[in-house]
């Protein structure tokens, strides 16, 4: 793709898409800023652990969900191993949400959207919403009494605003695909975006130390 006349390393403008992409990435998160081993002095609180804990829990959720998928979606009703894997998945989700909610409140009280970080906050909220949707569709695909009840209850809210016409909570096949493909993909993508933004901006300085007052 690159022209042979240009020696490696010399600049010839953005004459390849590859080079343009590389420079775009380097501008977004400069090398060394992606995984630095030093942080500003004020990054010294337990609250910072919860963002990372949320990410770690998301990993566990995805891995246990993958294990649960191995046996198909009714496996866990008939196998004690399947039941245990289901329990792992359930509890990792509860931990994921607990960590995320603490993270959310932490960032609120730190007003962590200051200094051009509004998009970090907004991607965080979207990650939260997508996670709620993912958990909800998970409850709908349990194929047990709980999913019978939750789906027949939830349909009214979704139907009342017209969403139910396309997103049929009474159809566990459709819900399963949202639960295991579309929504996890969305959560993962937004989480990546969110963390790239965090690294790009650096950790927000303390209130009153940011020179804004």
């Amino acid at each position: 793709m690159s022209r042979a006349t240009v020696a490696p390393g010399t600049s010839a403008g953005h004459d390849t898409w590859t080079r343009a992409l590389r420079e775009r990435i380097e501008r977004t998160v400069p090398p060394g800023q992606a995984l630095p081993d030093r942080q500003p002095v004020y990054v010294a609180s337990w609250i910072y652990v919860f963002g990372v804990a949320t990410l770690a829990a998301l990993f566990v959720v995805v891995v246990t969900g993958g294990l649960l998928a191995l046996g198909g979606f009714e496996w866990w009703h008939v196998s004690s191993l399947g039941r245990f894997v289901n329990s792992l998945h359930l509890w990792s989700v509860e931990i994921f949400f607990a960590a995320m909610v603490i993270h959310l409140w932490g960032k609120f009280w730190m007003a962590a959207w200051r200094g051009g970080r509004a998009l970090t906050w907004m991607t965080g909220v979207v990650a939260f919403l997508a996670s709620i949707g993912t958990a909800f569709t998970g409850y709908l695909t349990q194929t047990n009494f709980d999913s019978q009840w939750i789906s027949t209850q939830a349909k009214d809210g979704l139907n009342a605003v017209g969403i139910g016409a396309w997103f049929n909570v009474l159809n566990p096949g459709q819900m399963l695909l949202w639960h295991v493909v579309l929504l996890p993909f969305a959560v993962g993508l937004i989480a990546v975006l969110h963390i790239v933004l965090v690294r790009r901006h650096g950790v927000v300085p303390p209130i009153e130390a940011d020179g804004e007052d």
Binding site: F97, M110, G115, N159, V161, N171
Partner: protein
């Protein structure tokens, strides 16, 4: 996860004095992100295994039509009568199942109607379909079906409506104790339907008749939720809509507590008494969600963290080590 050996920034900051100070212009300390992540992963992993081993997970068996017929036969009969009379919840629902009603509106906007009838359900067919398919051996049911099919709409509604009312008045809704009246073929049909339910084949007839795989139980779930049995079962497990409903799990499990705000509105007026509650609660939640997304831009709300200084706790070490006069 870090040792406190602060250093001054190596790079002299060339920012203009008017620009607020940001992360790169502060002294730094060692901080091992990867180690932090790996430790978090191990801790979350162990916690997950521990909780799963200790508490397992709930798995209440689904209600089947056979178990419904077994536990509450009078409710199956009453539900079948309501489907035939066109008075059940699904028969009067509106979009996306039928055009029997306009549906709910949000600030006068008929979103439910705009969604369209995309999952057409004829409630009478929920009863007549399975009966027709399985009545080949039962001459009485066959004759009743023929009589029903031959009657006018008005006649059918009158028969089924009268029978539904009579059932409601009978002691315990017992079909055997219904006062005599002109119910046409309806009692034979509803009783025949109870028999079909008892055989355990109803799920299959509602979800897979005509398609081999039958992966969509929408019709079966609508029929089930037209009855009172599923709600009674749920209420007994503190899962009713006015009991913080679907946020809870069967058994003593945490469920979906993050849905508390959505569920909350259903518990309080005007929503708890409104016919448009679903649309209103959704509208409210969309507004609040937008507020959460745009929080950094909303005057007042975005200043709360300054007024209620929880951040003093978060950054107490920094505020102690770098009192205002000594900040660079």
């Amino acid at each position: 996860m870090a040792t406190a050996t602060p250093t001054r920034p190596t790079r002299s900051s060339r920012r203009s004095p008017a620009r607020p100070r940001d992360a790169h212009s502060f002294p730094t300390r060692r901080y091992d992100l990867v180690k932090e992540f790996v430790i978090a992963l191990v801790v979350v992993g162990l916690l997950t295994v521990g909780l799963a081993a200790a508490f397992s997970s709930p798995d209440e068996k689904p209600i089947t039509f056979a178990s419904w017929a077994q536990a509450a036969p009078e409710d199956v009969v009453a539900t079948a009568a309501a489907e035939l009379a066109g008075t059940s919840a699904s028969a009067t629902y509106g979009p996306p199942y039928n055009s029997a009603a306009e549906g709910q509106k949000l600030l006068g906007v008929p979103l439910q109607k705009w969604g369209g009838v995309r999952h057409p359900v004829n409630s009478a067919d929920l009863v007549l379909g399975p009966l027709t398919a399985s009545s080949s051996g039962d001459l009485r049911v066959k004759a009743a079906l023929a009589r029903w099919n031959g009657a006018s709409d008005a006649r059918r509604t009158a028969w089924a409506g009268a029978y539904a009312d009579a059932l409601a008045k009978a002691p315990n809704g017992d079909p055997a104790k219904v006062a005599p009246g002109d119910y046409g073929p309806v009692p034979t049909l509803t009783n025949g339907f109870l028999d079909v339910a008892r055989t355990g084949g109803l799920e299959g007839q509602l979800t897979s008749s005509g398609t081999f795989y039958g992966g969509d139980p929408t019709r079966a779930l609508l029929l089930l939720s037209d009855g009172a049995y599923i709600e009674d079962t749920a209420r007994a497990q503190h899962l009713g809509g006015d009991q913080w409903g679907m946020m809870n799990e069967t058994g003593a499990y945490p469920g979906q507590p993050w849905m508390w705000l959505y569920t909350f509105w259903y518990q309080v007026p005007p929503f708890s008494t409104s016919d448009n509650a679903d649309a209103q609660v959704w509208g409210m939640m969309m507004l609040l969600t937008l507020g959460l997304v745009l929080l950094p831009f909303i005057p007042g709300l975005r200043s709360i963290p300054r007024w209620i200084p929880v951040h003093r706790l978060v950054w107490r070490q920094y505020y102690r080590d770098y009192p205002p006069g000594e900040r660079h």
